[in-house]
Symmetry: C2
Subunit: 586 residues, 2 copies
């Protein structure tokens, strides 16, 4: 076995790193190693990792050789040495050799540590500006270049490690300082550690019985978020849900129940026709929720926005009155704090007044903008949020918490429970020996619910509120820097005037050939192709990623957003240079 390769000690490994200076040093190493117990080796391995950086970078291509994951035989004594476990050959091991297998502990720890090696390399590379954001391949290429199929027979652990490397090779480095593509970017080290812990604890949120700490942390964290929203003493209710769309759907569901509790049993047939309101710049999930809940998308009225993308309150009131005149029931207004494209904040105070006047549930979709509540400098943009009946706030966006982490906060306590509970006796036994108020599962739409709170909680402990504030302020400062950089720069046009309120900066890049084109129609028809081509080239070069889209009568423009604390002024400069490099010939 050893003579064909793949010993446990791989002194010349597939990632190109790690040849010892000579076999006798390795032999000395082995001898010393055997005298130690405990966690020292782990410290050492982290230390050695620091040194491994250079070879990792240069072996970019070699790392992911599909299933040809060869390990070199231990050469520390030219033949099998006396190291413990030197015969641990992944090419001959399978998952059945890992725990809970009898004597599976060594193989398990070794395997998991090797996985961790791969992950740590990826983490380090994610922050390295000399690496690509993406190694782009077309879907069919990617399907054909590797065998991804699921078979009857098991693969070896060597192949499994290779699968991990291959998967990461083609993954987007979402933590890369030049990845600006989504509202969720960045890779927080404490958040990552917390997510690994969450996976290891592998439990479910429905009862205190099976998730004691996590249930309490959800309680503590939601209360803190409600305090920050401005509800007295942090009172109210809430839940971590699988994303902002579901949080918004929860809000609509609860609003309907509050007005017509009989809908739970009798359905929509028993109640008047309901109408919801949101701005034309709002997130599509409001309509998606309305479709799902049986309200219907036609009953979601899109309120006009001003040129900055903010809902116009007078239009909201006009439409509410219209709807009432038709005999329908306005039940739900979803204001947006931080729209997806423009980053606009609806005027919450004015909207709150209207909701109060007409007795309509006020929801604030602050999935994207909620993070600004952590900043003393920027929180005024959400003035009035404390008057909402419910708020969606996604820490996985502006606060940089790993995906997924979305909270729905509800001002009235108990409503979620009444709305959603089904009293399943097999899950929520009423005669348990502890305080049942911590069994929160019955207020959820879900039965099992993933533990999303721990990464937010641990990051909050690690940063403090002030740490989140600093990171958010920095991102907003970078957005202003970008705005100032391009607002008067040749070849750029802003999609809307004025400084960005959030980190969204929307602009067209006008290639030289279009700059003096007089025919407006031709200009438009050529301009709409510019952003998609630049984006495609960005992805093929893999240097950076930024989103584009059309909106209303505005043809494709770039929407820059900054939520990654790793980004710097130089990265903003780079983006602009890259757009110009890739777009100047268009």
């Amino acid at each position: 076995m050893a003579s064909t390769g793949s010993g446990f000690w791989s002194f010349g490994s597939e990632d190109g790193s790690g040849d010892p200076e000579n076999p006798s040093t390795a032999r000395a190493w082995c001898q010393v190693a055997q005298k130690f117990t405990g966690g020292i080796g782990n410290k050492l391995c982290a230390l050695l990792y620091g040194d491994a950086e250079k070879p990792m970078e240069t072996s970019n291509e070699k790392e992911t050789q599909g299933s040809t994951d060869k390990k070199t035989v231990c050469t520390c004594n030219q033949k099998p040495c006396s190291c413990l476990k030197m015969d641990l050959n992944y090419a001959c091991l399978h998952s059945t050799d890992l725990l809970p297998a009898c004597n599976g502990e060594e193989a398990t720890l070794s395997f998991l540590q090797d996985v961790m090696d791969i992950l740590l390399q990826y983490v380090v590379k994610s922050f390295d500006r000399s690496t690509k954001v993406i190694d782009f391949h077309y879907p069919n290429e990617l399907l054909q270049e590797h065998n991804w199929e699921l078979a009857d027979q098991p693969q070896t652990l060597e192949e499994i490690l290779s699968n991990c490397r291959t998967t990461l090779k083609y993954a987007i480095k979402t933590g890369h300082p030049r990845y600006f593509n989504q509202l969720s970017t960045g890779l927080d080290m404490v958040g990552l550690a917390a997510d690994w812990l969450t996976s290891t604890a592998n439990t479910n949120m429905f009862t205190y019985e099976i998730a004691p700490v996590f249930v309490l942390l959800e309680y503590v964290t939601l209360r803190k978020m409600r305090e920050i929203i401005g509800w007295p003493g942090g009172s109210g209710d809430g839940i971590f849900s699988p994303g902002g769309a579901i949080s918004n759907m929860y809000a609509m569901l609860i609003a309907r129940f509050k007005m017509f509790p009989e809908v739970k049993e009798k359905g929509m047939a028993a109640i008047p026709r309901l109408v919801a309101f949101t701005s034309e710049h709002s997130h599509f999930s409001v309509k998606k929720g309305a479709a799902a809940l049986g309200v219907g998308t036609d009953s979601v009225i899109l309120i006009k926005c001003d040129e900055r993308g903010k809902m116009i309150p007078s239009d909201l009131e006009r439409r509410i009155v219209e709807v009432k005149q038709k005999g329908f029931v306005p039940f739900f207004v979803s204001a947006t704090a931080g729209t997806t494209v423009y980053g606009a904040f609806d005027p919450l105070l004015a909207i709150a007044d209207i909701c109060k006047k007409y007795k309509i549930w006020m929801h604030v979709d602050a999935a994207w903008g909620g993070g600004l509540l952590m900043s003393r400098k920027h929180k005024w943009k959400l003035n009035g949020v404390e008057r909402a009946n419910s708020v969606t706030w996604n820490p996985h966006k502006m606060m940089g918490v790993p995906l997924q982490c979305s909270a729905l906060l509800v001002r009235e306590e108990g409503l979620m429970q009444s709305c959603n509970q089904m009293h399943a006796s097999y899950l929520f036994q009423q005669d348990k020996h502890y305080d049942l108020s911590y069994d929160t599962g019955d207020k959820a739409l879900q039965c099992g619910r993933h533990v999303d709170v721990f990464k937010l909680w641990l990051m909050w402990r690690a940063k403090g509120t002030t740490g989140f504030e600093a990171q958010i302020d920095k991102c907003l400062e970078l957005a202003e820097y970008l705005y100032n950089l391009i607002k008067n720069r040749e070849g750029y046009e802003m999609v809307f005037d004025g400084k960005p309120q959030h980190t969204n900066v929307c602009f067209w890049y006008i290639p030289p050939s279009l700059r003096h084109l007089e025919d407006k129609e031709e200009r438009m028809s050529r301009l709409l192709k510019v952003a998609p081509v630049i984006k495609a080239r960005m992805m093929e070069y893999g240097t950076t990623m930024v989103s584009y889209q059309p909106l209303g009568d505005k043809v494709n423009f770039f929407r820059m957003v900054i939520s990654n604390p790793a980004a710097t002024h130089q990265d903003i400069d780079f983006l602009i240079e890259e757009i110009e490099r890739l777009g100047q010939d268009l």
Copy 2:
């Protein structure tokens, strides 16, 4: 700094392990260590870990000392030695010292490796029968014993590591061979590795652009699951959703849309009154979904079950006819393959005939039972599933995939997309440079969607279909072993007769004092308290955990389920002995 403790090299660490034999050995170690680069140290550390097992066990209490996470100074040369990074003192470091901080790489790797140490210790302990399943504390105790609050100021990395230890100290060891409390138990090593990788990749499922590999793996995996269900060539559609309840809600949503596509725009007001059917033993999520979708829980008719918990088809047909006579529209039948309490399989073939006859969407909730499709021995229990229009199948239950992993499979392709799409141009640009059919986000109810597929895919690669089969067959064999052990044992009564079809074994333990009690009413009123008391004692001792509940007119009984491949015959024996030990005085 070094003189007050907490050097990077901790030769006497808080977990009680790791003193080297003498300082000169340590010095030799340091000298050798400096000559190596690359991943060798990681191999070594895994190796050393194996040796660390004993001290870890004995230091059970010492590990979690709240925030008193002291590290001992490096003693390898009686004063600071020449090791790299020896001055890395977590008590003085914060998250801002980690990447992306300038020069944050060493601290990051060291910190993440230390987190990994904590997790690996937890993993090893999870499988150790001499450790507790749970270190139970009442909610108020747990809230008071530690400070869990979120503050303005940051904590040190030392405190963060301590937070991690404390969290795991009170966590349930859901992978423990004696944890039988839920349908999801066990901790699969490859699944865990895959979940760590998923966290590290930290992306979102909506487009190929930002999750190229994961989107393809979802495609491959869902197709394979549909093949196994028996749909020709694996054709059809599907999605991984955040749990079985949401999968079931998807099914109802799509069924409604298929029959009345106008409901999407017009809402429930525009269509006739709909009625859904499911058995009285079905999961409560069917009702929860009906409440959310505006169908109403009164419009979910619960069909009678036989004494084994299987839906009675003749009752289904009778109720369908009744509903039609009232002028309502039967639109959805949710059959259950593996009920939550009894583990019963509804007769799918007979139900399929009825659905066909009355043109009703047939859904199979195989969240719990779907895993049996992987077993040649047991898959007959789902005969007829291939005739369903949709199937919920949760690999996070019987297949032991880490939470969350739930699939909804739909026979008709394209329906999910038509039902849910909202054409948000800012997310699903139509002029991108690759095949857009891989942008699956618009068929989801969610916008962002967590990557749930990778752990299932990697486990499948590692085990092969045959590996899943072996693990599932073993759990079913254990359930039969339990059944045979107690069916004629003194002090036990089965809740229903006959061998279990799934791994659910439902029984009462009758303490000696009740065994000869003639007054049936008194017996019942005392029996209903037995299971809760035994369960409370189990949790306080922390030795094992099993669920109990009442059902209909049956007072509290134990529902044993086995989904953890780590469980053995001895663990079943232990459970029974423990029930008797804890319940004999009642």
